[in-house]
Structures are given as C-alpha cells and as structure tokens.
Symmetry: C3
Subunit: 320 residues, 3 copies
C-alpha cells in the first residue's frame, strides 16, 4: 500500500482485516518495523479518538509520532494555484507540504468538509495536494468524503461478531441530528462493506438524504427504515446531512431515532455507531447501553486498524 486515502488503495481487504485482527492479539508482533521512522499527524480538525489510536498504533510499530494540531483557523493554508496571497491565508500547501515531507517519513492528515461547497469538498483537494507536494505516503485520518480507518475498524468489529454459516445482512440507517454532519463515515462504510463483499447491504434514509451513488457501489437503497431493519444482523446507525441539498439538516425525523422497538425488527442485531453520538437524538439510551451495542469495540479497534495500515505502508516502502 502506497497511501491510504480510501478503500481503493487497499490491495487485499481480507488480508488487511486479518492483519488488524492479528495485531489485536499481538500488539508488538512488529515492534521494530517502524524503527527510526517518523509519522507526522496533521489535524486541520480536532481529533481525540483517531489521534490517540493512531499514536498508539505507531508506538506499537516502533515509530515516532509528531502531532501538529493546526486547525483551520490557526494555520490557514492556501490551496488555489496562482493565488495572490494578500488575504488571511499565510502559507500555500505547495510550500507547507514539502516541508512536512522533509521532516516525516509518513504523513497522516485529517481534513474537514465545508458542508457548503460540495464540489470543493468532494474534490478532496487538501489530501490530494498533500500527496502531490509532500512526496511521502499519506494516511487519511478522515477527510471530507471518507474515513477509511474508521471503516476498517467497523469492518473488524463486524468480522468479530459474524453469524456462523451464513451471509449476514447489514443495514445502515440514517439517524436524526441537530447539526450538519459530514457524509464521510457513511460513504466510507458503504465502500468498505461493498469491497469486502461478504454481506447483503442495505442503506435506509429519508427522501433527500440519499448518499452520493459512487460510494454505494450498487448497494440496495430504501426510504423504508423498517424494511432495512427487518432481519438485519448488524445495524449501523449514523447521521449525515443532505448530499443533494448539500449541508441541509432534517428538521423533523424523530421516528428515525433507533429504539428498542426498532431493534425488535432485526435478527437480534449487533449495533454499530462511530461515536460521538447524540443520545436520545440519534439513538436512544436503551440502544447505546444495550449489551449488543458495539460502539466501544469499534473505537478500540481503531488502534489495530491504524496499525495494520501503517504496517502495510511501511512494508510497501521497504519493498520500494
């Protein structure tokens, strides 16, 4: 693996999953693979879970980790080619990226969507500029449109709770929220489940909240949440704002909030959420506190997901 920007960078998803599960059993199995290697983590948006899990993963591989909490406000970068920089942006990515490439062997980056300019967000210009000008492998720590480490951790969690002897049904259901939330976790989960190919996958959302088709890879899409939940073995609960009417929040969809009544429709489903969750808005307390809710497992698995990906990139560098 050269970079991890999305599932499309993964050569063999089954092997990657097995590696992540192997690191969970043996965290220090490759403790000198990253020896002498420096990982720079560039956060343009704050992070706690992703930052800490990636730091632990790097440490388990013997890498040194350097965190740059830049924020969109305190280090405003210019991305437009040819810009006359007489405004508020203090540095161009064409200058900043090679500097990071000079310090670090690998660069992780978290960017964020505007949720106003869909074309710009979906162009993923930030991470592509970093790849173009940084000259180093780049690891996504969440971008405007996808969140591959989250998805790998999600898939690991599903893999750990698979029903025996049959193909599972996975439902991803839209959930209500009070603020505009990016589509990246949902887009990415869909891509990874499709690439994995071991499940029947259905996505349910209200009218107007359909995801961009290119991430759905032909998954079944429905406006009927009940139909999606019926017989499901896994339910991924997640809010996202409108892609069609970009950034719009649904004002009145309380009935989409996951409750015990919804759970009854499923096949005693395991319940997934990427966190943070707005309790009793997205998901009811009963669901979050249910013994079948795997949200904390997903968060814990982020360490092993990051470790498997870092190991693949390091091995790719050694071979290169």
């Amino acid at each position: 693996m050269k970079n991890l920007i999305s599932v499309h960078d993964v050569e063999n998803i089954h092997h990657l999953l097995e590696q992540a599960l192997m690191f969970k059993r043996e965290p220090l199995a490759e403790r000198s693979l990253g020896s002498g290697k420096k990982l720079g983590l560039l956060f343009m948006n704050p992070s706690l879970r992703t930052r800490v899990s990636t730091q632990i993963a790097a440490s388990n591989l013997g890498m040194e980790c350097y965190v740059l909490n830049v924020g969109a406000d305190n280090w405003p970068l210019e991305f437009r080619e040819g810009a006359i920089m007489d405004g508020s942006n203090v540095e161009h990515i064409r200058d900043a990226a090679p500097v990071m490439g000079g310090y670090f062997d690998l660069i992780g980056v978290r960017t964020f969507p505007s949720l106003r300019d869909r074309t710009l967000d979906y162009s993923e210009h930030v991470i592509h500029s970093l790849m173009k000008y940084g000259g180093r492998p780049v690891l996504s720590l969440e971008t405007a449109t996808v969140h591959p480490l989250q998805s790998l951790a999600d898939l690991m969690t599903i893999r750990e709770f698979l029903p025996e002897g049959r193909r599972p049904k996975i439902a991803m259901t839209w959930a209500p929220h009070v603020k505009p939330i990016a589509q990246c976790v949902a887009n990415s989960f869909s891509e990874w489940i499709c690439a994995w190919g071991q499940a029947d996958f259905v996505v349910a959302q209200p009218e107007g909240f359909e995801l961009n088709e290119s991430f759905l890879c032909g998954a079944r899409v429905t406006y009927d949440q009940k139909e999606a939940l019926e017989g499901a073995d896994f339910v991924y609960m997640k809010n996202w704002c409108s892609y069609r009417d970009y950034g719009r929040v649904h004002g009145s969809a309380h009935e989409w909030m996951m409750t015990l009544d919804h759970l009854k429709l499923t096949n005693q489903a395991k319940l997934l959420h990427s966190l943070p969750v707005r309790r009793n808005v997205e998901v009811s307390d009963e669901i979050m506190d249910h013994q079948d809710c795997l949200a904390k497992n997903q968060a814990a698995n982020k360490v092993w997901a990051a470790q498997a990906v870092l190991a693949e990139i390091l091995k790719g560098q050694i071979l290169a």
Copy 2:
C-alpha cells in the same frame, strides 16, 4: 491503591511519602514497572506544572503518556443521565469513558469547579463518572474539591524540612486575590496534613471564608491570622473563594497578604505556596523571594509525588 481521588484512597500515607522521597533520590529505581502501560491524561482545564510533572513521572516508570487537552469548550461532555442531547454537548461521558478505558491502562483527569453550583461541584460527578464508566484506575490531576498530587508534594516538602525532635506547627492562612479561586488546594492540604497526623495544624481565614468542615477533620480554625502564625514552623499561604457564599471574592482584605511583618510572628517559618501566585496581592515579593520560601521545591516535588502514586497504582494492578 486502586485510584487516587483523595487522601482517602491512600492506604499508608507514611509509606507513600517514603516512596516519593525514594524516587527523588533514585528517579529510575522502577524504570520498567510501567513498561507497556499507557497513561491517558485528560485535561478539561489547562495545566502546565501538573501535566509536565506527571509526564516525567510516567516516563521515569517506563510508561507511555498520551495527553488529551480537551478543555470544557472544545469537547463539551454531557453528564446528565437520560439527557436528550440536542444542545451543545456533543458526547456523553457514558460513551467517552469506555473509549478511553479501551485505549489506556490508567486515566488521569483534571476537572474544574464552576464556582457557581456548589452542590454540583462538591459532588465531583466528572471524576466519579469517569471511574464508573471508564473501567480503569483513575488518577486525579486536580478536581473541583481536592488536589491530592499537590498535597502529597506539599507534604513531601514539609517532610524534607521538619524541625528535629519536636512536633511542628503548621498554619494555613487564607490570602487575598482578585478572582474566584477554587478551594481544592486548601481542602486537600488540610485533609493530607490531618491524615499524616504529625503536626499541630491551624487554619486562619476571614469571616465567611471558612472551608467545608468535612475537609478540616477537626483542625483548629481561627479568624485571627496573627494567632495562627505565632510560632508556626510552616506557613501555607493560599487564596480560596467563599464556600459559604459560594464563589464570592473578598473585596478588602489586603492586611491578610503575607509580608515580612507577618513572618516575624512565626518561628522562622518555611513558606509554602502551590503556585501560580499573584505577587503583592496574595503574598509580597519579599516573602516569595525569601530564602525560606519553598514554592519551587513544592513544584519540583510534584514529579516524585506523581511517580509514587503511579507506582502504587501499577503495583495494585499487578497484584489484582
């Protein structure tokens, strides 16, 4: 020791003190005790002294340390059970705590008082929630009502300067300030001195600035600063806002500021302050710059206090 929330978690205060003094002489005496263990430090209020001293202590024990500077504003947590989270709080402690417990072996936390809602502050709901839902030993790095690592460092400093062959007199005197300051350092110092039991202890403050009795453990309390200072071997100088009229600042108590004239009343007392100090408001320049002022010794001893406590918790885990 399972957790360190207050002095009540300490099994043998004399042994803990000796351990702290031992680490001061031999910082690397237990350099592999924490090998492979991860300490998460969660700061809901900024910290420099406590953060750095705890990081050094962890490093001396071979632990890895991960700092989460969350702040009350940038990661607003919900603590109310059953809350409908449609406001500004983005995550419930019931979800955040298990995630931290998944990443770290021990969790240190600094919380802060509102200084408006006394009942809420004195319930210490933040650290108790973290203990309840995190599933890991918790180390207080200062909370609304107590600051045990500071107190252990304070006590170590006293222990290093004990007069020979007699029981010392320790006076804690309230000092003026321009802003509302928490009672935690004073509450905690009182608890620890009482638990130590090797000194005569008196607390002096103006009318209306009495501490909560449960922290005084029967210590002598007086409104007469002179009486408290007379013959004292140690003087702890500290401001706190009113407990009774919760959060109130004393507007006109300049005569309580420690000066050389006050010092003359004492038995050539050693002078203690937890820092930061407002010079010439709480304490005069002459006192802070006096050769008998031990404020910087107290700050330096925070490393060894944290190291002794971390070592006790680690040993408790190994035995468990």
Copy 3:
C-alpha cells in the same frame, strides 16, 4: 556553548556548521549524548517548523522533549519587577522560570515582539528573565529580535551550495507584505553571515525600512534593489516591518516582489526564504517553484541546526 540566544553565543561558527552538516549525514551519530536529559520547549507564539525540527533533533540525541504551548493569552506572564499583580497576568516569570528549571535540563523558548513597543521588544526581556531565573541553559526558538536556529539552517544551506573557488555574493532583499512582520529573521541572518565572514553581503530595502545597525555589522546597505541583486550568488528574500517607524507596513512596494526579471540580474542565484511565504506578494510563484529555490532545504536543515546546537550545549554541561 552555554545558551543560544544569538550568534554571539557561538564560540566557533565554522565548527558548529560542520557539526550540523555531520548530523545531516549521520543523524544518530550522538544518539546517547542526551540520554536522561529533558528539554522543555516553551512556545509563547505558535510554531510548527521550529517545534517539530527541534523535537526531531532532541530525539536523535536521545533527549526527552516536553512541549508547553502557552501562548501569550492563555498563560499571561508578568515580567515587571515589583508589580502588584491585580490585573490579568497570572504568574510572574520569577516564579515560573525556576519551576521549569526544576523539571527540565534545558529550556527552549519562542517569544514574539509586540511590534508596538520597540524598546521593550529589543530589550529581549522575556528570554533574559528566563535565563536569569530558570537556572538552566536556554535555547532561543525565535525571539523578538533574532532567530538563531533559522540563521544556522540558512547558513548550512548556503554552505551546501557554495560556488567553487571564489567568495560568493549574498544579497538580502526586503520583500512586500500585507501585515507587520518581525525583523528577527533578517537581523539574525545578517549577524550570522557577518560572523561567518566568507561572503560579500549586501542588504537592500526601501527608504524607512533599514534594519537596526547593530545587527548589520558593517554590511553594505542600499536602497537600490537592482544593485544588490547584480551578480548575487544567493538572494535571501524577506519582509520586515519598519524599525525606524516601528511596526509600519509599506503600502505600495510591489516592484520589490521577486520575479524572474529580478532573477536575471543575478549570477543564477540560489534563492532563500525562511517560510511561510505569501506567494505573489513577497515572492512570485515562478521564483518559489524555481529549481534554484532552496526554501524547503532551509526548512529541512532546521533539524540539523537544532541538533548541532543541542549537542554543543549538552557537551558544555558535561564539561561544566
């Protein structure tokens, strides 16, 4: 070397340069020199390049590094002797500095100029107070008037691209900017080039933008940019606000922006900039993207500059 505040602390600039170049070839040549030593990095102004390069340098020497991002606002320090601290400053440098000296073996600090009070800025009171009260070697990570690690990295870069068999001409030319920028990089570059003594050095700037003479060490100064650029082997491009009319920004000097036309005047000059750079304001895109632009080399060399300086200070401590 006891401290590094400016070039005047350097005993042998040629030896220091060779050390920096040696570390570039062999990063781990002295990997245990700093073993058990703690470096505290105190940022009163944010930093990315200088922080990360110094952290990597410390790691290469086996030192532990502790970062304190204090900012001017979130930890307002008092520097005035005898101040009655009833305002917004919460701690006096006389108390804060010894605490840091208690935790760290070496202290790095970045301070910043007000660009309003020239006398205060040029007194460098912050770093001098830290040296006076901290009791530890102090390493400048940029102060109000100089930036010695940047200058050493700049000089290294020049040293790597020296023309053979003749004395080079180095021109430093003022560049336009939209905001008031400190004089420290320019002051410092001038001091270091003069101390190095191996080049003809000329500084060009518009009327009213002359640097303080004490940093020019007799360098030739001109108001004619073309004359400065003619035949130059190296061109350092840098904005600074007015020293004379302290803090003033030049409103209309677009013709000073470096372009390919300016470059033609030189002797195929190598182009230097300390970054960040405002493209098409200070310097044109064509210049920044030119193969002879060494800005990213300068940034990368900051690691080796810091490493050479830290090694000198550590060796000085061992001998002391």
